[in-house]
């Protein structure tokens, strides 16, 4: 079920009313409702993959209980490895099987040995990368003694399958979400109202910004060979806003929906395009994933408290794995590697934690230095997005080469969608201004003009939204 669908618009109020008016007397019943609603939400897409979630839930629930009973170090180690192998094994099979097979075949043929291989027609289960990491955080935290495992299977199932964040995060830690699931929730009207605002803003980002950009991005990237440098630059800028609007929009709706149920999810985006360096960008972009990798990969590898050389290795590992997490394509690996290259100079000079405060806090406009840093960071991110969006690494390089050919012949180009490439720019500029003014909050609905802002957002969603071609959220494929 998509957040931006009529189905969800009917599903959400029904679950909300049942949750607060029918099952509110019993926590067990409320959790049972959450599990049923979550399974319905996921099964709407493909019910067969519910068995996969159920299997993952059963394995990690059992491992959690077993870990609490087992005191012997080696046996505990075996248990945690069972959880890791089962979860990553499922992820690896569904997401990476064909990728590894294709690459092995290519490598063997390169050395003159042809091997017969047949790739499988595997459907990638939506959200597998998200819920796999979420359940892994549970067993790892139980193993490390940070969390007491729950014996309540229904509550644990609700933690794994909690529908607002099941298919595209935020990837919640068991230490944050599970205690909320196992304790009674109280309805808080102001929190719920805040949830509505987040849903509204998330819908705006998805339907108006991301989907409008998608129309242009698809056209420009599909025909990049015929486009001039200005149009290619716009194509990359539009993709930057498409992926931001799409993914942060999804996260806002997820967080807002959770608030309606009295559950607080972690923040996933914090205005990343106003970052002054790449380190700040990664503290603000897909926060739940970057902190997951930091806590469960980077720190166990030694983090930064090791020699410079090992630290360099760790940085590369975390960025490459992060890239590979996004998809079974070399483009994502190169994207991750590129960000590692951006990050390393900051890390080596200990400047990676320089910009921890909010940019231009309390000021209307940034200083020239801040503006320069933000634009430079955005430009670096932009180059990375070209790899992220392109179908292959070769295409990405070709795109970049044409972008820097500085061919401005024929100005902005006319697209076959009967639009000129710069038309969307006005909308994007307006969006940047609104985001800038709200950068110290979670969303722009605050202050004395709040009602006017709500009306303006609703009108924009109605008039400027893209409804003819309802698209999946980009991160569903990851």
């Amino acid at each position: 079920m998509l957040f931006n669908s009529i189905d969800f618009a009917l599903f959400l109020p029904i679950v909300f009313l049942l949750y607060w008016f029918v099952t509110n007397k019993s926590l067990k019943l409320q959790n049972l409702l959450l599990v049923a609603a979550s399974y319905l939400f996921y099964g709407w897409w493909d019910w067969r993959f519910l068995f996969l979630i159920l299997f993952s839930t059963l394995v990690d629930y059992t491992v959690g209980i077993a870990l609490s009973k087992e005191k012997e170090k080696n046996k505990r180690l075996v248990l945690i490895w069972i959880s890791i192998l089962v979860n990553l094994g499922l992820l690896g099979f569904f997401k990476y099987y064909n990728f590894f097979l294709d690459n092995f075949t290519t490598a063997f043929s390169f050395f003159g040995r042809d091997i017969n291989s047949s790739s499988l027609n595997i459907i990638l289960p939506v959200g597998i990368s998200f819920y796999t990491f979420q359940t892994l955080s549970y067993t790892i935290d139980v193993y490390k003694g940070k969390l007491t495992p729950t014996k309540d299977f229904v509550a644990f199932s609700a933690f794994v399958s909690f529908f607002p964040q099941l298919v595209a995060g935020p990837i919640e830690r068991a230490t944050n979400l599970l205690p909320q699931i196992t304790s009674k929730r109280v309805f808080n009207p102001s929190e719920a109202k805040d949830g509505l605002y987040l849903i509204l803003w998330g819908l705006f980002k998805k339907i108006v910004i991301a989907d409008s950009c998608a129309v242009y991005v698809n056209e420009i990237f599909s025909n990049y060979e015929q486009m001039n440098s200005l149009t290619l630059l716009l194509g990359a800028v539009y993709f930057a806003f498409q992926i931001y609007g799409d993914f942060s929009g999804y996260s806002d709706i997820a967080i807002g929906t959770s608030k309606l149920f009295g559950v607080h999810l972690m923040r996933n985006f914090n205005f990343p395009y106003f970052s002054r360096d790449i380190a700040e960008f990664w503290r603000k972009w897909h926060i739940s994933l970057s902190t997951w990798f930091r806590d469960y990969l980077y720190i166990p590898l030694g983090g930064s408290k090791v020699s410079k050389l090992i630290n360099l290795r760790n940085i590369f590992i975390i960025f490459l794995v992060s890239g590979f997490w996004h998809g079974a394509n070399w483009t994502f690996i190169v994207w991750g590697g590129l960000h590692a290259l951006y990050f390393i100079p900051l890390s080596l000079t200990n400047r990676n934690r320089k910009n921890l405060n909010i940019v231009s806090q309390g000021k209307m406009i940034p200083s020239f230095r801040e503006l320069y840093s933000m634009l430079l960071t955005f430009f670096l991110v932009l180059i990375g997005w070209i790899f992220f969006r392109a179908d292959s690494v070769a295409i990405a390089f070709d795109y970049i080469q044409k972008l820097f050919a500085f061919n401005f012949k024929s100005g902005f180009q006319y697209l076959s969608t009967e639009r000129y490439a710069p038309e969307l720019m006005i909308l994007i500029i307006g969006f940047i201004i609104v985001e800038w003014s709200a950068r110290e909050k979670e969303h722009p609905f605050f202050g004395k003009w709040i009602h006017l802002k709500i009306i303006a957002t609703l009108v924009s969603i109605i008039l400027l939204g893209v409804y003819s071609n309802v698209t999946d959220f980009i991160y569903f494929q990851f």
Binding site: P189, E423, L463, S468
Partner: protein, 298 residues
């Protein structure tokens, strides 16, 4: 909770009110604006006597030089070909055209559009502002399974057709911006030659019959309109060109021009360029002028 639910309902009510307002605003602008597409033009044209009307897809819009045909034949001519339009769309155009105007001869372009009876969503999206028009309403009711949503959910018809009648088109209509192609003429020439021409794959099999075409023929008979069916040229690398031989057997009287045009006269394999369009218009006039003259004698 009560306070929150009240707030929630007021938001829903506000959204509904906005949807009604936007729907009303869009409809008024489209109804009162200078026509920016051919369907709008047809709906808003009254008491005109057209001698010759060309109907079809882009292979009509790009191929028939209206002015040239008018000069050659000395007959009032209009090109109502629309890019992406199918026979179903042409049927709606015909129904709307003859409701308030008279037409003597229609040239209907037939090619692979014979394979489909469904509306293309192109012409019909342009008809959405006029859904209260009985002809449009009946047509949509007959061929669209989301008729109720289109008719009764405010702004739904505009939302799902946003590429054609969304905010951009609304804004251009509001400021009365002239379209690139004047609907009153309708010829949209293509320039240049995209070599090498990539050949089309025409269907291997052919549909038994096309009920939409049958209805089209019936309406023309009933209204004493001379109907001339023809096929426009394709480039030499088109595959399965014998499709048109099968089509000629299905439709007696179909004039087949699919072969014989030099590849330099094409913009791409299915579309002639400006020079090709002029040659084709000339050829079409020469080969059918007797029919036009006999029509004039009537």
């Amino acid at each position: 909770m009560k306070q929150f639910l009240t707030y929630l309902f007021s938001l829903v009510a506000l959204t509904l009110a906005l949807l009604y307002c936007c729907d009303f605003l869009y409809t008024q602008v489209y109804i009162n604006a200078t026509p920016r597409n051919k369907l709008q033009y047809i709906i808003e044209t009254e008491n005109e006597n057209f001698d010759v009307v060309f109907l079809g897809s882009s292979r009509v819009a790009n191929h028939i030089d209206t002015e040239l045909f008018e000069n050659l034949s000395n007959k009032k001519t209009i090109n109502l070909g629309v890019e992406g339009a199918g026979l179903n769309d042409n049927l709606l155009q015909l129904k709307l055209l003859i409701a308030k105007n008279t037409v003597k001869t229609i040239y209907l372009q037939i090619d692979t559009n014979f394979e489909s009876e469904n509306p293309s969503n192109i012409v019909i999206s342009e008809a959405m502002p006029f859904i209260s028009n009985p002809i449009v309403k009946n047509h949509v009711k007959k061929y669209f399974n989301n008729f109720n949503k289109l008719t009764y959910i405010p702004f739904y018809r505009y939302a799902i057709n946003d590429p054609k009648i969304g905010f951009r088109e609304f804004f251009l209509s509001l400021i009365n911006k002239k379209p690139r192609i004047a609907p009153s003429n309708g010829f949209a020439p293509k320039f240049g030659n995209r070599t090498p021409l990539r050949g089309h794959n025409l269907p291997i099999t052919i549909k038994q019959e096309n009920s939409v075409l049958n209805e089209f023929i019936e309406i023309c008979k009933k209204n004493e309109i001379q109907l001339l069916l023809y096929t426009s040229p394709y480039c030499s690398s088109t595959n399965n060109l014998n499709y048109f031989e099968k089509l000629t057997l299905k439709i007696p009287g179909l004039i087949n021009y699919s072969k014989g045009f030099n590849d330099t006269l094409f913009f791409n394999c299915g579309h002639l360029n400006n020079k090709g369009a002029q040659e084709f218009t000339n050829l079409l006039y020469i080969t059918t002028k007797n029919k036009l003259i006999s029509d004039a004698k009537k």
